[in-house]
């Protein structure tokens, strides 16, 4: 049964992925101008364009072009970035680790902070504490992430000097090993916190909801009636079930997380794919932009898949719709 589920879920990805590639293909061809520009950039000469044309089969009838494009994407060939002079996929992969570091840290922070807060709020629903926490979360949820970043830079970096203002490591430092790690962590702190604040709000509310749901269930009441201590009730019985939406939310909000990461990276000068997105837009490096579009879409799909699978292992009630 389980394997069947996994297989079916995996298979479900295929049409989505193909749909994304199709959208990419359509964008290339709908845009004004020669499609080869979208794949090879705007500064090549005739010879280079001829080469790219044949590589992507642009002189062939449209259906065959589509197949060729699929084949190319499948082998990881998204075109060549003019500005960087090498394959788009390479350029993107170089920047991915920095973004992973940022988003990973932010998620970690979020989980660590929001679960206890959500639990606190759920313990006494509609109390002053609950309203306080939930409203604070709501306000944070409403604030644009760049504003939180600007305020953080102003207060913590410029005025108080607690954190470095931007970048991933101190300039000029050729340090390695331990001191380099510490340096990176110092630079990571502020952007990760700012990014975390965006996710925090959603997670606090979700944990709270999930816990409130669980705490109202019969078996909890039974446990309480049996005299099981309150904290124990929370921990053993309610929390694990309530944590499922936490897992789910990471997948479901992947798209927003990436958008947030893009802005945070730009505000803090963090050298990840967010900055790459902006500069590729500024230089009209269309192959790179399209490559980013594909990569990010795939990532979101993957995140959805992983959380679905995780979700299913934790809660056998969940199946495919």
């Amino acid at each position: 049964m389980k394997q069947g589920f996994v297989l079916r879920r995996l298979l479900q990805i295929v049409p989505t992925v193909m749909g994304v590639v199709l959208v990419g293909f359509l964008l290339i061809h709908i845009a004004p101008g020669d499609p080869v520009l979208a794949l090879a950039g705007e500064h090549g000469d005739a010879e280079y364009y001829a080469f790219m044309r044949s590589r992507f089969g642009l002189d062939e009838p449209l259906p065959r072009q589509l197949v060729t494009y699929f084949a190319r994407v499948a082998t990881g060939d998204f075109g060549v970035s003019y500005v960087h002079g090498r394959s788009t996929a390479r350029v993107i992969m170089e920047r991915v680790p920095a973004t992973l570091l940022l988003t990973g840290s932010a998620l970690l922070m979020t989980i660590v902070i929001s679960i206890p807060l959500g639990a606190l709020a759920a313990r006494r629903p509609h109390s002053a504490r609950d309203i306080g926490i939930s409203t604070a979360a709501l306000v944070l949820f409403s604030a644009p992430v760049f504003w939180v970043g600007q305020l953080a830079i102003f207060a913590l970096a410029l005025k108080l000097g607690v954190f470095p203002v931007q970048g991933m490591a101190s300039a000029g430092s050729a340090s390695t090993g331990g001191s380099h790690t510490i340096d990176v962590v110092r630079h990571l702190a502020l952007p990760a916190m700012v990014l975390a604040s965006q996710e925090l709000a959603a997670l606090v509310r979700l944990t709270r909801s999930g816990l409130m749901d669980e705490l109202a269930r019969d078996h909890i009441r039974t446990a309480r009636a049996k005299g099981v201590g309150e904290p124990w009730v929370l921990m053993r019985h309610a929390l694990p079930r309530a944590l499922m939406p936490v897992i789910t939310v990471i997948g479901a909000r992947a798209g927003q997380l990436i958008a947030g990461a893009v802005v945070v990276e730009i505000v803090f000068g963090w050298p990840g794919i967010g900055r790459l997105l902006l500069t590729s837009l500024q230089t009209r490096d269309t192959p790179l932009l399209l490559g980013l579009f594909l990569v990010i879409s795939f990532t979101v799909t993957l995140a959805n898949l992983v959380t679905d699978l995780l979700h299913s292992t934790v809660d056998p009630r969940v199946r495919l719709g």
Binding site: T16, G19, V20, V23, L27, I30, P32, A38, P125, H126, D130, I131, S134, T135, L138, V139, F141, S142, A143, P144, V145, F146, W147, Q150, L151, F154, A202, R205, L206, S209, D213, P245, T248, V249, A252, R253, G255, I258, A259, V263, I266, V267, L277, L278, S280, L281, R284, L289, F293, I296, S297, V300, T301, N304, T307, D308, H311, R317, V318, G321
Partner: protein
């Protein structure tokens, strides 16, 4: 109904099923939210009366702090920030409304179609929906701008055509849950046409949830548009709050008012949407 990732996503979009406020407090929250929104709308509508200074004109000294002449200070060129914010309300509201309308029409139609027809059409539409849910809106707008050039219509179209998935899912869910209920079946039995059922029965059925979701979505769209403006991807011939915030980036140290007020305006407006939606959800739950 078995839960899938997308249904969970819907719950996520609703920032949790359990609203903060219970009962009457829910009403109050919704009203508070509505009040914020009304303020924003009034400001936008009466912009020329509120801001007598032309936001594009050089009307004061460069980088002047808030004063009686310039309530929120001036920017590097000497343009009045308060006027910029007031007129920015117009731009931001219009964009949000346009996107909201587009997404509403798409989402509700697709949701009702999928929920009511079911079967193969439902499957196809849901796959289609998932595709749009997966594509990152932000990146898509960037790609559109790169391919087609900058412009407000591009942003509105792109955002509008990618914000409907959650709406569609919720609508479909509601339809699925209620289509076999008595009053629907009896309406069908009485020979009511599809259109009639749609307008008289289904639409009122889904409206409350849709309203909540639309409130949330408008808040999200406002945030997205602000981010785009912040990054300089907006139309330079209009002034939006995001653009004002983006222009402040180089002056964080010398002019605290430049980043503070635009961001505040955005936060309060989005809060308005969220409070309204949350309060409304509480109210609905009560019933």
């Amino acid at each position: 109904m078995a839960e899938t990732i997308s249904a969970a996503a819907v719950r996520v979009e609703s920032i949790g099923q359990r609203p903060v406020f219970r009962g009457i407090a829910g009403r109050r929250a919704a009203l508070a939210g509505a009040a914020l929104l009304v303020i924003m709308i009034v400001v936008a509508m009466f912009a020329p009366l509120l801001a007598t200074i032309d936001p594009f004109a050089v009307s004061g000294p460069s980088l002047a702090p808030p004063s009686s002449d310039h309530l929120m200070g001036t920017d590097a060129l000497g343009r009045d920030l308060f006027s910029g914010l007031v007129y920015g309300a117009r731009a931001s509201l219009l964009i949000a409304a346009a996107v909201g309308l587009l997404a509403l029409v798409c989402g509700v139609s697709i949701g009702i179609l999928a929920g009511y027809r079911g079967g193969v059409i439902d499957d196809l539409l849901m796959r289609f929906t998932e595709l749009f849910q997966v594509m990152p809106r932000f990146i898509l707008v960037a790609v559109m701008i790169a391919l087609f050039g900058p412009g407000l219509d591009r942003v509105v179209l792109t955002l509008g055509l990618t914000s409907w998935p959650v709406l569609a899912r919720v609508v479909r869910g509601e339809i699925l849950a209620t289509r076999n209920l008595e009053f629907v079946l009896s309406a069908e039995a009485l020979g009511a046409t599809q259109m009639r059922i749609f307008w008289r029965v289904l639409l009122p059925q889904v409206m409350p949830s849709v309203l909540v979701l639309v409130g949330l979505m408008l808040g999200q769209v406002l945030l997205l548009e602000a981010s785009l403006g912040f990054l300089g991807l907006g139309d330079p011939n209009t002034l939006t709050w995001g653009m004002l915030a983006g222009q402040a980036q180089g002056y964080l140290r010398v002019a605290w008012w430049l980043p503070l007020f635009p961001g505040l305006a955005i936060t309060l407006s989005v809060l308005g949407f969220n409070l309204f939606a949350d309060g409304l959800a509480a109210d609905l739950q009560r019933r």
